[in-house]
């Protein structure tokens, strides 16, 4: 319950910052996805809890605000958390590497799903090559730039909420 509450607050702040700040700092036509980075960092922390609820909150909130199809952010954020959970159990010795991999895969998946949904389901004419060159790759670069600072901040935050047990 506390985890869901923390998640709601942090994800809400992230979505607000995404709309009011991050979207005004583009690289070509791409922009960073603060929610994706925050979610990845939280999901990779070993003591963090309720990360699936965080993904649900992020998906519902973004789907509600954005004009893209509702299911795109919902599915994408759940997949990102699933990838992070897989990597957490396998690449536990170098979580920062897992964070970079999660953000990389997550961004690609999110954008490919968005392009697919817009082009084939909503019949909006956006070219694959143009989308990848002008939106996806710049967004990927920005997301990877945000990865390290947000990993540090979210790790500290997770350690604060879920302190290590002293034996």
């Amino acid at each position: 319950m506390i985890s869901a509450l923390i998640g709601f607050v942090i994800i809400t702040i992230s979505v607000m910052a995404q709309m009011a700040i991050v979207r005004y700092l583009p690289l070509l036509n791409g922009s960073a996805d603060l929610v994706l980075v925050v979610l990845s960092a939280w999901a990779l922390h070993e003591r963090s809890e309720g990360v699936w609820i965080w993904a649900l909150i992020a998906g519902i909130l973004t789907g509600f605000i954005s004009a893209m199809p509702f299911y795109v952010p919902l599915i994408s954020y759940l997949v990102i958390v699933w990838v992070a959970s897989l990597l957490r159990s396998r690449v536990w010795q170098s979580p920062i590497l897992a964070m970079f991999v999660t953000v990389f895969i997550g961004t690609l998946f999110f954008h490919l799903l968005t392009i697919f949904a817009l082009q084939f389901l909503q019949q909006i004419s956006i070219g694959w090559q143009e989308s990848l060159n002008l939106v996806t790759i710049p967004s990927l670069v920005l997301n990877l730039l945000l990865t390290l600072p947000f990993y540090v901040v979210l790790t500290d935050l997770a350690g604060w909420f879920y302190p290590a047990e002293v034996e």
Binding site: V15, M16, Q18, M19, A20, R23, Y24, P26, N29, G30, S31, D33, V35, T62, I65, S66, A67, M68, P73, H111, T114, I115, L118, Q122, I124, S125, I126, G127, E130, S131, L134, V135, S139
Partner: protein, 281 residues
């Protein structure tokens, strides 16, 4: 005890000495002698004064440093406060300028009723060109209402909640606006794109398009009111084999720096979708 009584000789002697000193002084011969006599005194006085100053500062300066630090902190605090006020006032001036421009625009078109709204964000997805405004259905906003600024057409209301609304910009890839080319006296389409550029499409081949031609809404289709400025033609692409020619449009509105917009609330968009024939399976 025997009282001392000055003798006349002593008095005369004293008067003579005093008169002599005065005369020597008036003659200017006393200065060097006095200088030699006072030099050690001045040096002693200087030494004593310097030592006193050191002791005085030792006793009083720590208190002064503390008070100066406190005063400095107060002044820094006041300075920060004033700087904040300056920034706030500059912000208010900018907002006021935007609102004055919108007000002028609204006054110039008394037939339309406007609701002014501030832009509070953009769509989280970089693939879409939408803005979020701080007015919603509580303020009379409805789906499809046109959104403008003093410069020209912005887009239309796409989704509404009680206190906010999402506006689709004319630069969005799914946006299409029926337009009139003012100089060419013909209708065409202004279509958005992924990059946020607006493209001119479906212009007949026999029309002469020139860069700089003004583009206004035509009102066809019922989605937007007529004669709202959309932008200017910047370049023309004409192929001999094509059915139509196309071109690039410089929108009249700077979407990157959009701070406030006007929603035309007395315009009811017409939904012509049921009239569009569908292909039989």
């Amino acid at each position: 005890m025997k009282a001392y009584t000055p003798q006349p000789l002593h008095i005369v002697l004293v008067i003579l000495v005093v008169t002599g000193i005065i005369l020597v002084s008036l003659g200017g011969y006393l200065g060097p002698a006095l200088g030699v006599a006072t030099e050690p005194l001045v040096a002693a006085q200087t030494w004593l004064s310097a030592r006193y100053q050191v002791v005085y500062e030792f006793l009083t300066v720590p208190r002064d440093v503390a008070s100066l630090r406190q005063r400095n902190a107060e002044l820094e605090n006041e300075n920060a406060h004033l700087q904040t006020q300056v920034i706030e006032l500059q912000q208010q001036i900018k907002e006021a300028q935007v609102l004055y421009a919108l007000l002028d625009f609204a006054r110039s078109r008394p037939a339309s009723q406007y609701v002014a709204a501030a832009v509070i964000g953009r769509d989280p997805s970089p693939f879409l060109h939408y803005i979020i405004i701080d007015h919603g259905s509580d303020d009379g906003l409805r789906h499809g209402m046109p959104v403008v600024t003093d410069q020209g057409l912005v887009g239309r209301v796409d989704a509404v909640t009680a206190g906010a609304a999402r506006v689709q910009l004319i630069s969005d890839p799914s946006s299409t606006v029926n337009i009139d080319l003012k100089n060419a006296q013909t209708s065409a389409l202004a279509v958005g794109s992924l990059t946020g550029d607006v493209v001119l499409d479906l212009v007949p081949q026999d029309i002469v398009l020139e860069p700089g031609d003004l583009i206004l809404t035509s009102g066809l289709g019922g989605a937007y009111p007529a004669d709202v400025m959309v932008g200017q033609v910047t370049s023309v692409r004409k192929r001999e084999t094509g059915l139509f020619q196309s071109g690039s449009v410089q929108p009249a509105v700077d979407f990157a720096n959009l701070r406030a917009v006007l929603i035309i609330v007395n315009f009811r968009p017409v939904d012509i979708e049921p009239l569009i024939p569908t292909q039989a399976p």
